[in-house]
C-alpha cells in the first residue's frame, strides 16, 4: 500500500516536471505570458509531489513499515527516534529522494519569490529547473527507487550504517550539504536563462547573486561540518584528508566563491558577465560530478557508503548538461559582454581578477588530483590514488596567495589607483602583519609557510576590520550618532558590505587556523595499564580504568583518562577527564571507536582508542593547536552570508537599479506582462 502510493507520487512528479520543462522552454522561446503562468503551476506541482513523497517515506520509516524496500534496508526497531528520522539520507535511495525534496522546496521558493519580476527570463529559468527536476524524478522512479514493495516484509531491519549512527553531526551534515548542492540548481537555471535570452541585465543580477549566495552559505557550513565529523568520529585526529568525497564538496564551493566575486565586478563595472555565467554553470556541473563521485561507488572512501548502479545514469546527465552548457556558452558568451574598460591591474577589480584566476587554479588542482585515478583506472585498469602531498604542496601556495589577495584587494579603490593612493592604502596594514607574525614567532611557530600565512593573515585582518568599520567612522565624523551610524551602515544600508567583510574575517581566521593546526600538532601512541600515566607535550594522561555501557543498538567500552597539566597526578593541576570509547554495533561485525576531545581556545586534547587488550589500552594522543577556531570561524562566515543575503528595502528617494541598463538586447521581443 505505502510503497505503491509513493511510487505513484514519484511517477506523477516525473510527468509534471517533464511537461513543465518542455512548457517552460516553449514559453521562453515564444515569450508567452500564459505559458509562463502554466510553467509556474507545474513548478509548484512538482514541489508538492516531491515533498509529499518524502513525507510518505518519513511516515513509513517512523511506522517501521518494512513493506517499503528502503525501510527494510535501513530501518530498525532498535535505534533511537532521531536515527530513524535521519535514516532518510543514510543510504543511496533515500538520499536521492531527499535531494528531490530539497529541489522541490528550492524551486517552489524561487518561483514564488520571482513571481512578479524578470518575466522575460523566468520561463527559461523554470524550464531549466524542471529539466533538472525531471532527471531526479527519473532517478527516484527507476534506478534508485526507494519505494519497491517487499513481498514478505521482515520483522525488523538492520538499521542504518553504524558509522552514521555514531555521531549526531551525521544528522546535520548531510542536510546542509544537500541544501548547498541542490541549491546550485537555482543559479544554474538563472544563468542558463540569461544565456538562452542572450542578455544579462543589471536587475537580473540580484536574483542571480542571491541564488548563488544562499547555497554557498549552506555549502560553506556543510564542508566545515564534514571536516568536524571526520575529526570527531574517524579517530585519526585530522579534519581533512583530500578524500575524493571531501574534494567533491569543495569543488563547487571554489567555483561558487569565484562567481560571487566576479558577480560583484559585473555589478560595479558591467564586465565579466560571460565569465560569471561560466562559473555558475561550472558550479552546478561540479555538484553533479560530486554526486557521481560520491554516489556511484567509483571511489572507495570513508564517506562513500553506497555502491550502486546509478553511476551511468548520472554520467549521462552530466554529459548532457556539460555539452548543453558549453554549446550555449560558445554561442552566446559574446552577446553578454558589455563595453567596459579594464583600467589597470592596481585596482580593486584587478585583484578580483587575480582572485578569480586563483580560485579556478585551485579548482583545477583539486579536480585533476581527484579525477586522475579514475581516468587511469578506466584506461589502464590499474588502481591507484593521488597522495596527500600532491594536494598539500599545490594548495598551500595557492591558499596563501588567496589570503594575500584577500588583504590587498579590498584596500584598493575601484578604477585605477594612483601611486599615492596605493601607498596610503597598502603600507599601514604591514603593522598588522608584523604583529601577528611576531605573536606566532613568540609562541613557537617556526614553519616558514605558517609564518607567511600568519603575516598575510595579520595584514588581511587589519584591512578587513578597517574596511568593516570605515562607514561607521565616516558617519560619526559627519555628525551621526554612534548608534544610528552603526545600525544604518552595518545592518541596513550597508548590510551587504558588512556581511561580506564578516565572511572575509571568518576566512582569515579559518586559513590561519588551518595553517597552525596542520603544522603544529603533536601526536603520540601510548600503551597504558590501569593506573599508569604517560606524558605527551605539556600534559600527563592517567588511565583510570575501563567501563562497559549497554544501549539497545550498541555496546560500548569506555576508557577513562584523567588529564593533568605538568607533572602528573599530584604534580600538576587536573585539566579534564576524557573517555574515548569503542562501540560494538549490533549491525556490524567490527568495533568502531569514538574519540574524545577536550577543546580549548588554545587547542584540542584528542584521545582515540587504538586497541584494548585485557586491562591495558593503547591510545593515540593528539594535541592540535587552534583547531576549534575553524568551526566557529566558518559559522562566522555563514552569519556574514546571511546578513549579506537579507533583502534591504530602501527608504523612499533612494535609487535602486531597476532598468536593464547596460544590457545588450538581441532583438528580443518584449514580454507582455500578465
Amino acid at each position: 500500500m505505502t510503497p505503491s502510493f509513493g511510487r505513484i507520487l514519484i511517477l506523477l512528479s516525473l510527468l509534471v516536471s517533464t511537461t513543465g520543462a518542455v512548457l517552460g522552454y516553449a514559453a521562453g522561446w515564444k515569450q508567452s505570458a500564459e505559458g509562463l503562468k502554466w510553467a509556474r503551476r507545474f513548478a509548484f506541482a512538482f514541489a508538492f509531489l516531491m515533498i509529499a513523497a518524502t513525507f510518505v517515506m518519513e511516515y513509513a520509516l517512523m511506522a517501521h513499515d518494512f513493506s517499503v524496500s528502503y525501510v527494510a534496508q535501513v530501518g530498525s526497531r532498535d535505534v533511537p527516534l532521531w536515527v530513524t528520522i535521519v535514516s532518510l539520507w543514510s543510504s543511496l535511495e533515500g538520499s536521492i529522494l531527499f535531494w528531490g525534496f530539497i529541489l522541490g522546496v528550492y524551486i517552489a521558493g524561487a518561483t514564488w519569490l520571482t513571481r512578479t519580476e524578470h518575466l522575460d527570463y523566468m520561463a527559461y529559468t523554470i524550464g531549466t529547473w524542471l529539466f533538472c527536476g525531471s532527471f531526479f524524478s527519473f532517478l527516484i522512479a527507476g534506478p534508485a527507487s526507494p519505494f519497491h514493495t517487499v513481498a514478505i516484509p521482515p520483522m525488523d531491519g538492520p538499521g542504518p550504517n553504524p558509522l552514521l549512527q555514531n555521531h549526531v553531526l551525521m544528522a546535520i551534515h548531510p542536510p546542509f550539504l544537500y541544501l548547498g548542492y541542490v541549491g546550485m540548481t537555482i543559479p544554474f537555471g538563472f544563468a542558463t536563462a540569461a544565456l538562452l535570452r542572450g542578455r544579462l541585465g543589471q536587475s537580473f543580477l540580484r536574483p542571480l547573486r542571491a541564488a548563488l549566495l544562499l547555497p554557498w552559505i549552506f555549502l560553506t557550513i556543510a564542508i566545515m561540518l564534514g571536516g568536524w565529523w571526520a575529526y570527531e568520529v574517524l579517530g585519526w585526529g585530522g579534519y581533512w584528508a583530500w578524500d575524493p568525497v571531501e574534494n567533491a564538496s569543495l569543488l563547487p564551493w571554489l567555483t561558487a566563491t569565484a562567481a560571487l566575486h566576479s558577480a560583484l565586478v559585473m555589478e560595479r563595472r558591467g564586465s565579466l558577465k560571460g565569465w560569471t555565467v561560466t562559473l555558475v554553470q561550472a558550479s552546478f556541473l561540479l555538484t553533479i560530478l560530486g554526486t557521481f563521485m560520491t554516489r556511484s561507488g567509483v571511489f572507495n572512501s570513508v564517506h562513500s557508503f553506497t555502491q550502486s548502479s546509478i553511476g551511468p545514469t548520472i554520467l549521462v546527465f552530466l554529459a548532457a548538461i556539460l555539452i548543453g552548457s558549453v554549446t550555449l556558452l560558445a554561442m552566446r558568451i559574446d552577446s553578454l559582454e558589455s563595453d567596459s574598460r579594464f583600467e589597470g591591474p592596481v585596482s580593486r577589480e584587478g585583484f578580483f581578477l587575480i582572485n578569480n584566476l586563483l580560485f579556478v587554479l585551485f579548482t583545477f588542482t583539486v579536480l585533476i588530483g581527484t579525477v586522475f585515478p579514475l581516468v587511469v583506472e578506466a584506461i589502464r585498469g590499474k588502481q591507484m590514488s593521488v597522495g596527500r602531498p600532491y594536494f598539500d604542496s599545490m594548495v598551500v601556495p595557492i591558499g596563501a596567495t588567496l589570503l594575500f589577495i584577500l588583504g590587498v584587494g579590498p584596500a584598493l579603490p575601484w578604477g585605477r589607483a594612483t601611486r599615492d593612493q596605493a601607498k596610503r592604502a597598502l603600507l599601514p596594514p604591514l603593522i598588522g602583519a608584523a604583529i601577528v607574525a611576531a605573536i606566532g614567532l613568540a609562541l613557537g611557530v617556526r614553519n616558514p609557510w605558517t609564518l607567511v600565512t600568519l603575516a598575510f593573515g595579520g595584514y588581511a585582518a587589519q584591512v578587513t576590520l578597517g574596511q568593516m568599520w570605515l562607514p561607521v567612522i565616516q558617519r560619526i565624523r559627519r555628525g551621526d550618532s554612534a548608534g544610528h551610524a552603526l545600525i544604518d551602515s552595518q545592518l541596513r544600508r550597508g548590510r551587504r558590505r558588512f556581511g561580506a567583510y564578516l565572511i572575509h574575517a571568518g576566512a582569515v581566521i579559518v586559513i590561519v587556523a588551518i595553517a597552525v593546526s596542520s603544522t603544529m600538532r603533536t601526536q603520540q601512541e601510548v600503551r597504558l595499564d590501569r593506573g599508569q600515566s604517560a606524558t605527551v607535550g605539556k600534559y600527563t594522561f592517567t588511565f583510570t580504568g575501563l567501563e562497559q555501557k549497554s544501549e539497545p543498538h550498541r555496546v560500548s567500552t569506555l576508557a577513562h583518562f584523567d588529564v593533568f597539566k605538568g607533572g602528573g597526578p599530584g604534580g600538576g593541576s587536573k585539566v579534564t577527564s576524557l573517555a574515548p570509547r569503542m562501540n560494538q554495533y549490533t549491525a556490524m561485525r567490527d568495533p568502531l571507536g569514538t574519540p574524545d576531545v577536550h577543546t580549548t581556545l588554545k587547542g584540542d586534547i584528542y584521545l582515540s582508542i587504538l586497541n584494548i587488550e585485557g586491562d591495558a589500552v593503547s591510545v593515540n594522543v593528539i594535541l592540535t593547536p587552534m583547531v576549534g577556531w575553524i568551526w566557529w570561524a566558518v559559522l562566522l562566515m555563514g552569519a556574514g552570508g546571511i546578513i549579506a543575503l537579507l533583502p534591504f528595502s530602501p527608504a523612499a528617494g533612494e535609487k535602486v537599479p531597476q532598468a536593464d541598463e547596460g544590457a545588450v538586447r538581441l532583438g528580443a521581443r518584449e514580454v507582455a506582462a500578465p
Partner: protein, 162 residues
C-alpha cells in the same frame, strides 16, 4: 562588444593587441600549471597492489608509495614488547610479503583478516608500513524476508570482537 567600424581606430588595435597578449599569457600560465600539477601527481601516486603485483613489479617496487592489500598469514604475527615493532606476513594467492610496522595495530587486527598496509618496499627485503588498516567487513547480511533477526549470531559477533 567591439564597435563596428570600417577602419579600426588606434584604441581598437591597442585593445586587440592587449587582448592577444592576455590570451598568450593565459596559455603560458595554463601550460606551466599543467606541467607542475602533472609533476606533483606523478611524484605522489599511491599504487594499490597485492603481494602478487608487488613481486611482479620487481625493482620498480622500491621507492614507490604502495597500498598493499592481502590477508594476514596465520602464525606470522610477531609482537615485540613495547609500543612498536610489529611484524607479520601479508599474503594473497600468488605471494607473501613480510611487513614491519611501527605503531599499535587497530583493535580488529588478527590472523586471517584482510589488511591494507601503506608504505614502501625496503631494500632489506621487507615492507616498511607507515599505516595499517584492517579492511572493514561491515557487510551485515540483512535477514531474509520473513525471518527474524538472528540475535544469537549478532551476540557472537560482539563476543568475537572483544
Amino acid at each position: 562588444m567591439s564597435t563596428v567600424m570600417n577602419h579600426p581606430s588606434a584604441s581598437d588595435v591597442m585593445r586587440r593587441r592587449s587582448r592577444l597578449f592576455m590570451i598568450g599569457a593565459f596559455v603560458v600560465a595554463a601550460i606551466a600549471f599543467m606541467v607542475i600539477a602533472a609533476g606533483g601527481i606523478n611524484k605522489n601516486l599511491v599504487y594499490y597492489w597485492t603481494p602478487t603485483d608487488l613481486h611482479a613489479a620487481g625493482d620498480k617496487a622500491y621507492g614507490a608509495t604502495i597500498r598493499l592489500g592481502g590477508m594476514v598469514a596465520p602464525g606470522s604475527i610477531k609482537k615485540n614488547p613495547g609500543i612498536s615493532a610489529l611484524e607479520f606476513d601479508v599474503k594473497d594467492g600468488g605471494g607473501i610479503v613480510h611487513v614491519k610496522s611501527a605503531g599499535v595495530p587497530p583493535q580488529m587486527f588478527r590472523e586471517n583478516i584482510g589488511v591494507v598496509v601503506e608504505g614502501t618496499m625496503d631494500r632489506g627485503g621487507y615492507f616498511k608500513c607507515n599505516r595499517l588498516m584492517v579492511s572493514h567487513n561491515n557487510e551485515y547480511r540483512a535477514p531474509k524476508n520473513g525471518h527474524p533477526v538472528d540475535k544469537k549470531q549478532m551476540e557472537k559477533y560482539i563476543k568475537d570482537a572483544q
